[in-house]
Amino acid sequence: MSEAVVPPRALWVPFPLGRPLGAIDDPGFQKDVLRAAFGLLGTAAEPTIEDYPIEAPDKGMSEEWACPLNLGPTSSGGLTDRLLAEVARLRPWAIETRRERGRTLFGVSGAEENQVDELARCLAVVAETGDVIGEPDSDEINWAFDMPLLLRHIADDLRTFYHEAIAAQPGSTPPDHDALSRWIFSETILGETLLLVADGLTDASDSPIAQLVRGLLIPEGHYRGGSAFPAEANFPTP
């Protein structure tokens, strides 16, 4: 992409998506990356792409992570009940992470921190009814997006809740992106719910935006054996 954009000075870094400075909680490593980028200001005389030669330490990541909680079925009820039961088991740990950090990334959908249950209920209703166009009926939440794009932000808020719950658990190294996605889509009711919502988006074949949102909802590699994006994914400009 840098070859197409031709920035004046670019430092290519071999780090995972979402970690452009490389290493979490490692100021020294992060500053070395910045020094390498700023160094190009004094050396490049024409558009330059330079490779950063140092791999990031795998600090705080684990591809082989396994959740210490047993989130197997605790209820024989419907999807909503099972998802709410799962959320309830994770809640104490999510609260602990928010207390430790003094912040959360939860809430982009419009939900407040104390509305996780309502958010989960709304997503489960969408999954069960297949209605991916009508706004979820909630007296509590002021949604920040229109449907169907709202669905990917509801999903992201719940994914954030799950990850913040994991982050506080003792004796485990938090998972990387792939390990987290594998866990969600193979072991959790949230994953089951998201795949049902994705099916609803697939069925909304007369809505091109719904097909696109499916690709924004499910990480690649976790949608029923293929890409979650439609073959022709056009990004409209508002």
Partner: protein
């Protein structure tokens, strides 16, 4: 940017196709900034980063969000639309995406000249970056008035 070989094969194929289809737009006018230890630096993020009071980004957003240099990390969220990058890293250490503390340290140590008062954020994942030309030029003018010498573009 990650190696394509480190991504899930489906994601790697998707990104590879997008990179090949991306229209060429550069290079721009060459500018030589002052020595870095004299330069004022502003961050430009494409992580869909913004304050909670700001409207979130949406699909195809071409506008930007202003991030004042004194914004607290507990006031920042991400509304980037992609499901394919690791948000948990930002949750644990916001400097991994928005390295404002690192710039403060480098300014304090004299490695850079200073930090801009304002920083800027866009929604990434735009197949045609030329669509950002108008807002890109706008923040260029704003940064010039803010005394910025170096724009540190941090993609997600």
């Amino acid at each position: 940017m990650v190696r394509l070989s480190d991504l899930h094969p489906v994601e790697a194929e998707h990104l590879g196709m997008r990179a090949l289809a991306m229209p060429a737009i550069g290079p721009g006018e060459w500018v030589t900034p002052p020595s870095v230890d004299q330069a004022t630096v502003a961050i430009v993020s494409t992580a869909g980063l913004h304050r909670r009071i700001d409207p979130p980004f949406t699909i195809g957003s071409l506008d930007y969000r202003l991030i004042p240099g004194d914004t607290r990390f507990d006031d920042l969220v991400l509304s980037h639309i992609s499901a394919n990058f690791d948000r948990s890293a930002f949750g644990r250490d916001p400097n991994i995406v928005f390295p404002i503390d690192r710039l403060r340290e480098m300014a304090s140590d004299g490695e850079i000249g200073g930090i801009a008062r304002w920083h800027y954020s866009f929604m990434g994942a735009m197949p045609d970056p030329s669509r950002f030309e108008e807002t890109g030029e706008e923040i260029g003018r704003l940064m010039a008035q803010d005394g910025v010498d170096v724009a540190l573009l941090v993609p997600i």
